[in-house]
């Protein structure tokens, strides 16, 4: 038996990578990028077996993680725990779920939100120091001056977001952290789309006012 050195492509089923850019999510709608074989509209108990649930996890855990991060604000370890618990609870309840993958995302996010409420609001947890305080911005190819400005914007946003109501912050998270359209946000929260628009507009105005105040 002789050996030959080879390079092997890695195992490649990575459904989780399909929601690849926020531009696409915006342009096409969050769920339209899922592969057709992942859609199970109308199928009964679509995630009852481990393989199907595993695919659901691969596909959605980053979305749920990001959502929890936004709701909770950090620290990362707590966010990881809640995200993990969300999927474990969903696994326990998988026989009762019926719907397509879009419904599954809403289902998971609702479980996640309840986890946040159960674990922190009921315990009257002390507020975190800074919302998303342990989240840094990735580098970009913009000029150093622009990067400084963006960093300041990010810091300011985190401080201001701390003062928003839970609903306002959740809308901010859904719109920008998950890249959803206003209509998707409205549908998920069960509120008018116009309300979403108004809250976002006010939040941006508040950011601008704060920025101008600091520039003076």
């Amino acid at each position: 038996m002789a050996a030959e050195t080879i390079t092997v492509l890695r195992e490649g089923v990575t459904f989780g990578r399909l929601l690849r850019s926020y531009e696409e999510m915006d342009a096409k709608g969050c769920m339209t990028l899922l592969p057709s074989k992942f859609r199970r509209s109308g199928k009964s108990k679509p995630y009852s077996n481990p393989a199907a649930f595993s695919r659901l996890f691969d596909e959605t855990h980053r979305i749920v993680f990001r959502y929890v991060y936004g709701l909770l604000g950090g620290p990362c370890q707590d966010v990881e725990d809640i995200t993990a618990d969300t999927f474990l609870k969903a696994w326990s309840a998988r026989e009762r779920f019926e719907g397509d993958v879009e419904s599954a995302v809403s289902w998971l996010m609702t479980i996640a939100r309840n986890q946040v409420i159960d674990r922190y609001r009921v315990q009257q947890r002390q507020g975190i120091e800074i919302w998303l305080g342990d989240v840094q911005l990735a580098g970009s190819d913009t000029s150093p001056e622009q990067q400084v400005i963006e960093k300041e914007q990010w810091e300011r946003l985190r401080v201001i977001a701390q003062k928003l109501t839970e609903q306002q912050r959740e809308i901010l998270v859904l719109r920008y952290m998950l890249g959803w359209k206003n209509k998707q946000v409205a549908d998920y929260l069960g509120i008018p789309e116009n309300t979403v628009s108004v809250i976002l507009r006010r939040t941006i105005q508040r950011l601008q006012t704060e920025a101008q105040r600091q520039e003076k």
Partner: protein
């Protein structure tokens, strides 16, 4: 340039898109023990990344049946950098993990250090799809493997000066000869799925490879998720300094 007060919808989208929010190793380790994680195909993204870094540099496969292929057949199936087997199955692959040094590339001074280690000038792309950035650098012997990642994709850039290995692909792999970086290269899409019967080639799996050789250095540009098109890979490769 925007002023500090120019915070608008677009600026917020940009900021949040660049926010680093990834589950960590601890999370994936816990989820690997979850009740649904019973399929061999389930490997966490981090594990895949690590295993690939090791695999690309030094996987050795013992493939008895490959050696049994007639020479004429070999000549028909081998390209310059890609070797197409007679079957889509590798029933008994043997993986050899190399010893790798992993410096973190912080700046151009580090780039020079890495270049000295591998013995040739390492080239970093001046064009990359938005938000991809270096997340890992592995050096092994006379090769360097640079990983670029963002939230949604991973790009692997391997450069080696003593390349003797070919990219081994399945019999049904569709290899495309392309013009890249001023020379002729090869492109293939697909991947090996790990199953109980061994590795099985699947053209529909995510993952795409662009390979070429220039000035004695072998280059391999891999979109791990297969999300980057050939055109994008060519744009990256054609703008190397």
């Amino acid at each position: 340039m925007k002023g500090q007060s120019d915070v608008d919808d677009t600026a917020l989208e940009t900021l949040f898109r660049r926010a680093r929010t990834h589950p960590g190793k601890r999370f994936y380790e816990r989820m690997a023990q979850a009740p649904w994680a019973v399929e061999p195909s389930y490997i966490s993204a981090q594990k895949r990344r690590r295993s690939f870094a090791l695999a690309v540099v030094g996987i050795a496969g013992v493939l008895l049946f490959v050696l049994a292929v007639p020479l004429k057949s070999l000549a028909q199936q081998a390209f310059d950098y890609i070797f197409r087997g007679e079957s889509d199955t590798v029933s008994s692959p043997v993986f050899v993990e190399p010893t790798a040094i992993s410096p973190v590339l912080q700046d151009l001074a580090d780039l020079q250090r890495v270049s000295q280690m591998v013995g040739f000038q390492v080239r970093l792309p001046i064009y990359l799809p938005e938000s991809l950035q270096i997340t890992d650098v592995n050096v092994h012997a006379r090769s360097v493997l640079i990983t670029y990642s963002n939230e949604d994709a991973t790009l692997i850039f391997l450069q080696q000066s003593d390349a003797t290995a070919s990219l081994y692909v399945g019999a049904t792999a569709e290899v495309e000869v392309v013009f890249v970086d001023g020379v002729t290269g090869e492109f293939v899409r697909g991947g090996w799925a790990q199953t109980e019967r061994g590795l099985i080639w699947d053209n529909n799996l995510n993952g795409s490879h662009l390979l070429w050789e220039k000035d004695g250095v072998r280059y391999s540009l891999t979109a791990e998720s297969g999300e980057l098109s050939l055109e994008t890979l060519l744009m990256i490769a054609n703008r190397l300094p």
